[in-house]
Assembly symmetry: C2
Homo-oligomer: 414 residues x 2
């Protein structure tokens, strides 16, 4: 068993880096977008903790951080764990951080117990997992796994036009080109569930069977600026109205049930010139679709595209363009690893269920390299996440990291 | 007849102050929001032209500028003309400026012809007519006419929290408290139509019968930030979706025909935290309603309010609050003045029709003080306005200012 108090303290300490007070709710949240000054400060803190725990730290050219505890067999592939510490702009203390700090806590416990393992244990901290600054989620792990190129990633820009490559250099986290993630023997990531399923089933721990498909697109709508008072309705090409219609249509697609368990979110929405008495000339929005079923996801995407065409055809002067931001299929996790995790939960006397992940995770990228699975930790308040209200109890966090520790130890001695 | 070339030159010169190049269309637009540096530069240019034309210039504590050409009878109330030079962020050269520069051109012609009038001729340049920076349109004229207090106006803030009072001081246009608009004998404003009616009827000039009602509200929606991937649809309180529903509902209200000639526009729309994978926690939008019929306007407002309540009732965790930004009833213009304008158009051999104004104008505020009417000038491209494409030909502008000149001369000799 790990030191739950020490784990909790490190979670709370890291949450102070990038912390803000939410006036309306009185809650303290975290705003630590990837490769901002706050994220850089968080990274330095994590590296300090890794070094205190005796890990050898390397940084690759995506700013992914790897901290390694050597094993006894220099030829053995490492067992990898980890996650991310970048956050969305209205985050809590747990998303990603639990996996990173949980990994460090496992190493501390191994050291304290004087346990050495055949395989190295490595902790990965992946860059821009959230995807909200540069537009593609699981970006660092996708590059580490070879699915996306570093050139693609470095050229991505934030809303102010700053490139990811430039921000890596600015923050001092652009590592040398010869640092790579060593092909792991296995990857196990501990993460908060970020949803209500574990609480609804009244269990502490979840064994994750896979991650549902994710589709992110940006839609840019060009219409025509016009006077709100004088322009007859039939002469308008209202880009903002078209954006609103997309949002409402997406919800009706979800409600129709025709796309299985589709979820749809318009998280970003902006209009220009954004003034009271001007019909919007331009609108920009993002569409985040999730579906555990790839065929239904494809149908939802096609039907959305068809809807965009009807908007364009229905209003002279309106044009819509889409840009793909991110796209991942349903990723199943390794069945043998799921059994090892379930066994570890049993060993700790913890009830558990198997469930699919609603959120994307670095694990789904690393799954291309090696057998991969995840441990989920229960959240309070319907598992709300990406919100300062996000909360898992100290006990729930310790339970999850106990399962992680036992799993890693078992794998590292194989 | 006025000097159409000189008038045109002054319109083009003023349009360079705050000019920008629209990359997409290749057009040159004007961005001269009230009391910005660009607006202040425009004001200084107008004052210079006024002084060159021998006008005595005064500025009141709203930054309204009055330039007066004295009459022969020191006891006679002045004939007032004018408009505004502030613009929206995507404007053309004509909206407002035609009335101000047209007034100056009339004075120049009177001087050149050696014509003196019994009544003074005064030109008013009113502050924040557009209402897009501080949220209330026709603001300077509404204060000059006594409908709104200077204290109310000074306390209004822009999106960066800067007060109108502070911006008046910063730009040097906060005049002394003892400067007031002298009660006019009559007010006649020349303005571009900003709509398609004159072109559709193939006439040069419009005699404006009045201004339709205007209702501006800001709606703030509070929902709950949540993870786009993990949060089941039934647990969402999506502030952005509620905003989208309002936009779509407003258009269906317009299309229903149940509110007569209602026009509805959502010009401003923003969501927070505005990130791809977060259900919006908050949304803010403006609703601009127009209606020539006050009773139908009232019904539209009531039905919108009822719709907001159904949104709130339908989604736990969602709250909606409205703030009144501006509200004016249907304002009819003076019938005798309309006849004087129609006669002036006939004198110039110009075909004309009578029409209602779709846009708000300073004239509707000054109408509370004295007999008031307006001359409309035809616009090209369906009369598009609040868009860099806004365009009236040099001939059309000269026609309108000729009608203005003859009307002012006739009134000033009464
Ligand atoms: N775990 C997590 O919040 N990942 C961000 C990517 C996503 O939107 O699912
Ligand atoms: N003429 C004009 O554009 N006025 C601005 C106020 C309005 O929105 O009608």
């Amino acid at each position: 068993t790990v030191n739950g108090h020490r784990l909790w303290q490190s979670l709370m300490d890291l949450a102070e880096i990038g912390a803000y007070d939410d006036e309306r709710t009185g809650l303290r949240g975290v705003d630590r977008l990837a490769l901002t000054d706050a994220d850089a400060a968080g990274r330095r803190q994590v590296i300090a903790w890794m070094e205190q725990a005796g890990l050898r730290v390397r940084i690759d050219r995506m700013g992914n951080i790897y901290g390694r505890r050597e094993g006894t067999d220099p030829t053995a592939a490492p067992v990898l764990t980890g996650s991310h510490i970048d956050s969305v702009a209205t985050a809590g203390a747990f998303d990603g951080c639990l996996g990173v700090l949980g990994g460090i806590e496992v190493v501390r416990i191994l050291d304290e117990r004087g346990i050495s393992t055949r395989r190295p244990v490595e902790i990965g901290v992946f860059t821009e997992e959230e995807g909200v600054r540069f537009g593609t989620d699981m970006l660092g792990s996708a590059v580490a796994a070879g699915r996306l190129s570093p050139e693609y990633a470095h050229a991505l820009t934030d809303r102010d036009g700053r490139t990811l490559g430039g921000e890596l250099i600015r923050t001092g986290f652009h590592g040398p080109a010869d640092v790579h993630l060593d092909p792991p023997y296995a990857y196990v990531e501990c993460h908060i569930e970020q949803g209500p399923v574990l609480a609804e089933n009244d269990v502490q721990v979840g064994v994750v069977t896979g991650v549902q498909g994710i589709s992110w697109q940006e839609i840019t709508i060009h219409g025509r600026a016009a006077h709100a008072g004088t322009t007859p309705t039939h002469l308008r090409a209202d880009a903002g109205l078209a954006a609103a219609r997309i949002g409402v249509h997406l919800r009706s697609m979800v409600d129709s049930g025709a796309y299985g368990e589709l979820r749809a979110t318009v998280g970003h929405l902006a209009v220009h010139p954004d003034l009271t008495n001007i019909v919007p000339a331009r609108a920009e929005l993002t569409v985040d679709l999730r579906n555990p079923d790839d065929a239904r996801m494809a149908r939802a995407e096609e039907d959305l595209t068809a809807f965009l065409r009807t908007l364009e055809d229905g209003t002279p002067g309106l044009t819509l363009a889409t840009r793909r931001m991110a796209k991942t299929a349903y990723i199943p996790f390794d069945e043998r690893l799921q059994k090892v995790i379930a066994q570890a939960a049993d060993d700790h006397g913890l009830e558990h269920i198997s469930l699919l992940s609603g959120a994307g995770h670095d694990a789904q990228e690393i799954a291309a390299l090696c057998p991969t699975a995840m441990v989920f930790v229960r959240g309070e308040y319907d598992g709300i996440s990406h919100n300062p209200r996000e909360y898992s109890t100290p006990e729930a966090c310790a339970h999850g990291v106990n399962v992680l520790a036992t799993t890693l130890l078992r794998l590292a001695t194989q």
